[in-house]
């Protein structure tokens, strides 16, 4: 009973402190006094930290007096998975979300403490407190993580099997949530700017760092999620266009548009309406994403169990969008800028195309995600919208995106000078052509692959040229090379390079993946898609956490151990654990598909007509897949560089 009340007390404290901060801030605005709302934010943070501490204590000591712990933890759950158990299910995930949100509120209020009396900061604080109040309120009511377990349980159910076989469970959700929570800040400031009418200020620039940080963290979080699913799910893929995956992609798309669009506002004061709308849209899509994950209306391997939260989350989504739309309509007259875009192929023109492209794609992904619901409502039947649809839409979009990436860094502002553009793009254009010709000679024939390499080289060329320019300019000013990397577009160009690498990895691996099933007796070898595979035998591994039937397989003389694993716990069902041999040229993905004999204790499917001691292995060979993760790493590095970018007009800028 104690833990329940301790946890709840901490939550109530956090919630009341947030409300207090909200009220205090509003009063301060009303009476035009500087506010001390950071104190309220600190109390709120203390409360949520206390709640998290109680939950972690319960998880680590396997205290089943909390229903949440008995559902997500067992006495034999290792420390790491006990800690991560906090975000394995719905109520706990809200604890993580609120923790990050309260922390970021304190950070923001501290960062802007010298501008406390600025109305924009005050209104932004109001919005931040409001959002925090919502999420804390959810936990105080319908999503209580501290429900007392009436039954006296001696053993918990343990975490879901797929959430305890890879340490990435400790990194992917926190990064993702950090990204989502991070986007609350530009949203809050966008609302604040609209309320105060101060839309001409430099606030969007102020926000750039928060946005880049949130974007970078979200991007890395999504890539790590893809890597995690690649390592455990057993089909050799990394993205399934699953509703929850799409839910994380949607805010990322609008956030990417926002990051680019703000550059134009910085230089030429354009796109104010776009930028405010994108900031609001990104946060709203984050809320919509929580709806998809937690409402249970869409079938997904990632979704938390369904709950009553659906209508509440959708209601909150509605409020955020309606508020944004209403404020934009109200302040519309102030937002018109006197100048416009001069040429469709100028930098500004290309950035508009970029905005339309990303927002359009987000709309299409959203439509595809909710379409099954729409269809069921209208026609009563069930449909699936899966990879064929999304891929058909994503491919042309990616092509246009690569074209934009090849041109935009090289064109000028306001106008297009064809000769100058050609002189800048010439080298990449010839390189791309030569590379395509070389690929054709080497035997690559698929038009899509050739097109992808052509455009990717051009895009990489534009990025490298810009980076080279930064270094050259830096040298002229006698800067060190790592200072040059802090130049205006260096981080962004590194991100572009990361995107190019990822695009090439995706195109190559999806076009040339080969899947095979091979049957091998103990000691037998075979050659599959150019890989030499040998099966050496079985081994049973049993420890406190799991019982696994491991196979010793050699791929090109590297030992792999694909297995069928059963994690102990109430929901014990065998899961396939793939093994991957990875190098820069290709990934070999091996799964334990079936076993011969009659009902071996392995938990694998039994192939009746195979002799005992034989196995059926799934062998998937995916060329260049490792580069996908390398590209993701570049994304992270580029974001970090962009974060530490020198401001315009700082020392050393041209």
């Amino acid at each position: 009973m104690t833990l329940t009340w301790l946890g709840r007390a901490a939550l109530y404290l956090a919630f009341l402190a947030t409300i207090g901060g909200l009220v205090h801030q509003l009063i301060a605005l009303r009476s035009d006094r500087p506010s001390r709302s950071i104190q309220w934010a600190l109390v709120s943070l203390a409360g949520i930290v206390g709640a998290v501490a109680v939950m972690q204590f319960a998880l680590i000591t396997h205290n089943f007096s909390l229903a949440y712990v008995s559902e997500n933890n067992a006495t034999f759950t290792p420390l790491l998975y006990s800690i991560t158990g906090m975000w394995s299910a719905l109520e706990g995930s809200l604890l993580l979300w609120s923790l990050l949100l309260c922390a970021i509120i304190v950070l923001v209020l501290h960062y802007y403490r010298r501008r406390r009396d600025d109305q924009v900061v005050s209104w932004a604080a109001v919005v931040l407190f409001g959002v925090s109040a919502f999420f804390l309120g959810l936990m105080c009511g319908p999503a209580d993580p501290f429900i007392h377990n009436a039954a006296k349980v001696l053993q918990g159910a343990g975490p879901n099997a797929l959430l305890q076989d890879n340490p990435l469970v400790a990194i992917h959700p926190p990064l993702l949530y950090m990204g989502f929570v991070g986007f609350t800040v530009p949203f809050a400031f966008a609302i604040a700017m609209l309320i105060t009418g101060r839309v001409h200020d430099q606030w969007p620039l102020e926000q750039r760092r928060w946005t880049v940080l949130a974007w970078g963290v979200l991007s890395v979080g999504i890539v790590l999620g893809a890597w995690w699913s690649y390592q455990v799910l057993g089909w050799g893929g990394f993205w399934g266009w699953d509703p929850v995956e799409n839910a994380a992609l949607l805010p990322w798309l609008t956030a990417t548009a926002y990051i680019h669009s703000v550059i134009v506002q910085d230089r030429r004061g354009l796109f104010r309406v776009w930028n405010l709308s994108l900031a609001i849209a990104t946060f709203s899509l984050t809320v919509l994403g929580t709806f998809f994950t937690r409402s249970g209306v869409l079938q997904s391997v990632h979704a938390f169990s369904s709950s009553t939260l659906g209508p509440l989350l959708i209601g909150f989504f509605f409020v955020t969008v309606a508020l944004g739309v209403g404020l934009l309509a109200w302040r519309g007259d102030r937002l018109r800028s006197p100048v416009g875009v001069d040429h469709p192929l100028s930098k500004e023109g290309l950035f508009i195309a970029n905005n339309v492209l990303f927002v359009g794609f987000a709309v299409v992904v959203l439509l595809g995600t909710v379409f099954p619901l729409l269809y069921e409502a209208v026609n009563g039947g069930q449909v699936t919208v899966g990879t064929p649809y999304f891929a058909t839409v994503a491919v042309p979009m990616s092509i246009v995106l690569l074209v934009l990436m090849s041109l935009a860094p090289l064109v000028g502002w306001r106008n297009l000078d064809a000769n100058v553009l050609w002189s800048r793009i010439r080298f990449s254009a010839w390189t791309s052509l030569i590379i395509v010709a070389a690929l054709i000679i080497a035997g690559v024939r698929r038009p899509m692959v050739l097109l992808a390499y052509f455009l990717a080289t051009a895009a990489a060329g534009a990025a490298l040229r810009t980076l080279r320019g930064a270094f050259v300019a830096g040298k002229r000013r006698h800067q060190r090379w790592y200072d040059a990397l802090r130049g205006p577009s260096a981080g962004g160009m590194v991100v572009h390079l990361g995107v190019v690498v990822m695009a090439l990895a995706i195109v190559t691996s999806t076009s040339y993946t080969t899947r095979n099933e091979v049957t091998l007796a103990t000691g037998q070898s075979t050659v599959v898609s150019g890989q030499y595979v040998t099966f050496y035998g079985f081994r049973t591994v049993k420890d406190s956490l799991e019982t696994a039937t491991q196979l010793r397989v050699d791929v090109n003389h590297h030992a792999l151990l694909p297995a069928i694993t059963t994690y102990h716990g109430r929901s014990a069902q065998p899961v396939g654990t793939p093994a991957i041999d990875s190098d820069l040229a290709r990934d070999v993905y091996v799964t334990f598909d079936a076993v011969g004999g009659n009902g071996a204790a392995s938990g694998a499917q039994v192939e009746g007509d195979l002799p005992a001691g034989s196995v059926v292995l799934g062998v998937t060979v995916e060329p260049l897949l490792a580069w996908l993760w390398i590209g993701g790493l570049l994304l992270g590095v580029g974001s970090a560089l962009s974060f530490v970018r020198r401001r315009h007009g700082d020392e050393g800028d041209g």
Binding site: W235, V341, L367, V383, P388
Partner: protein, 130 residues
């Protein structure tokens, strides 16, 4: 000097580009083969026991059964459309990974088209304003 000037010429590059394009298109593989058809159909059908994997990707028993079914039908000479509709009849409409374009499914394709139109219109309006 002349060679450099030639390489610098945009039109030469265009010519080279068109040559490479022609070669690429002529050499493009045709997917009319049975194997190609089977592989393509497998990417369009969902594995009955999974959430969003195609039968090409999943090795569940039901998935393998569907793969054999598709291969058999292709060898019998059934058209793609007939194969997909008969699978729908056995497993329900949710077995296809991309809804049919008739009826409500049309919306799924109109919206992306709308996005493309928006892009083109935006560009045209900008070009006209100059």
């Amino acid at each position: 000097m002349k060679l450099v000037k030639l390489v610098k010429s945009f039109w030469l590059w265009c010519l080279a580009f068109l040559c490479v394009l022609a070669v690429a298109l002529l050499e493009a593989p045709t997917t009319a083969s049975q194997q190609g058809r089977i592989a393509h159909l497998e990417t369009l059908v969902k594995c009955p026991a999974c959430d969003d994997l195609s039968v090409a990707q999943s090795n569940a028993t039901s998935s393998i059964a569907v793969r054999h079914d598709i291969a058999r039908r292709v060898k019998e000479g059934q058209s793609d459309n007939k194969i997909l509709t008969s699978l729908e009849a056995t497993y329900g409409t949710s077995i296809l990974l991309s809804p049919s374009t008739s009826g409500l499914g049309l919306l799924l394709w109109l919206v992306p088209l709308g996005a493309v139109v928006a892009l083109v219109v935006a560009g045209a309006r900008l070009a006209r304003r100059r």
